[in-house]
Symmetry: C2
């Protein structure tokens, strides 16, 4: 089961107010990704703990009381796994994951643990009210690179039909072993480690039905494909 | 909660093999819509009973053992309701429903009960293997009109972001009071009756993970918008 609160589409449209607490998200799984109110940075959920990397390169454990407008989480259980023994870049590794996965037509949870030659991430800059479309803040997102870093990549593969609700294809976040660094994965080079995949049978899509802005906003989804491409 | 087995997208692509029984669908709700293996006709679920209207105008109660590739169901509970006192066509009524509904950004279950001056439906013709894209069989779908008929329209409003997973906007089926006639609603003129709406907080999207054709097929969704428009 994959639990998602909010959608990428409403986030892209600038509905950035947090509508569920991180504790509420953690009730539905122990591995996942998300962001905070204002689309503030990157949330990484691993082994039932939620971490946060902000645009300034600061990293912390979340208390659980923070609010999120968009988060995706699963009770991770391994269905497929393989080892990575040679240096490989993200493109080759994600190709292999897609090839080894049960199907390209279901959601797949991804956990990649090991040593990375390089890890290239970004953190979405926090918006203050009044919120605008996410591509506006995405334009000024800082990028960070770490070399020779141990850690874990977590996230999801989403089938193309669900592009807009989630990001079609892979959407991955990183957290290092020391829990001092993380972010939204742009690319990486992996040295060695392991890949674990979890097949998702059911998507539980939750809507923020108590948020007046969400209920009332007339959302234009006509440019969502290009917007996501630009922001991701 | 709205439970959906399969997606409109995979149905449009010609993945028409039934992958859940009607009894399994009925475990998740008492009001809904769907089709049977081969995209055979129209399933109408009302008050926990499942009915079937085929292309020949035949109508029957389902046993529950039949298989469906695509069905959507909810445990219906009324959140909003209003009476219809004057003759009104489907366009005006659906406009009013959309206006009165809690939001255009969530799924809404719809139940319209009363007397209809006219009810214009179609039934999707059953395909035999090898299955082709749904627009092929949709081209030869028969249409039926009944006048002065009592009955109930059931179905869902889906937010535009979910077009492709479901039909964006309204997707409605009809069953008459005598349980002898029904189908996929094309248009109608209502005389008098009542409208009941149920706000959906969570979509539980279930994938047919045990169906090899679904797992293996490389689906091209590039024409899905036009395909749905043509088939609906």
């Amino acid at each position: 089961m994959l639990y998602q609160h909010g959608t990428l589409g409403t986030l892209m449209a600038g509905l950035l107010e947090g509508t569920a607490t991180i504790d509420e998200i953690l009730e539905h799984g122990d591995l996942g990704i998300g962001t905070l109110t204002g689309s503030d940075g990157e949330v990484i959920i691993l082994d039932g703990k939620a971490y946060h990397a902000n645009e300034h390169g600061e990293f912390k454990v979340l208390s659980g009381k923070e609010y999120t407008p968009f988060a995706t989480v699963t009770p991770f259980q391994v269905d497929t796994h393989f080892d990575v023994r040679n240096i490989t870049d993200d493109e080759a590794l994600l190709d292999k994951i897609q090839h080894d996965a049960l199907s390209n037509n279901i959601f797949i949870a991804v956990k990649i643990t090991g040593k990375f030659e390089t890890m290239h991430v970004r953190m979405m800059p926090k918006q203050e009210k009044p919120y605008t479309k996410l591509i506006e803040s995405a334009k000024r997102q800082p990028e960070y690179v770490r070399e020779q870093v141990h850690g874990t990549v977590v996230g999801f593969y989403s089938p193309q039909l669900f592009h807009g609700i989630a990001a079609g294809g892979f959407h991955l976040h990183f957290v290092d072993e020391d829990r001092t660094f993380g972010g939204h994965v742009l690319d990486f080079e992996m040295n060695s480690g392991s890949v674990e995949l979890s097949n998702i049978e059911t998507l539980e899509q939750h809507f923020p039905v108590n948020n007046q802005a969400f209920l009332d906003t007339d959302i234009d989804y006509s440019t969502i494909d290009e917007d996501i491409k630009e922001a991701e």
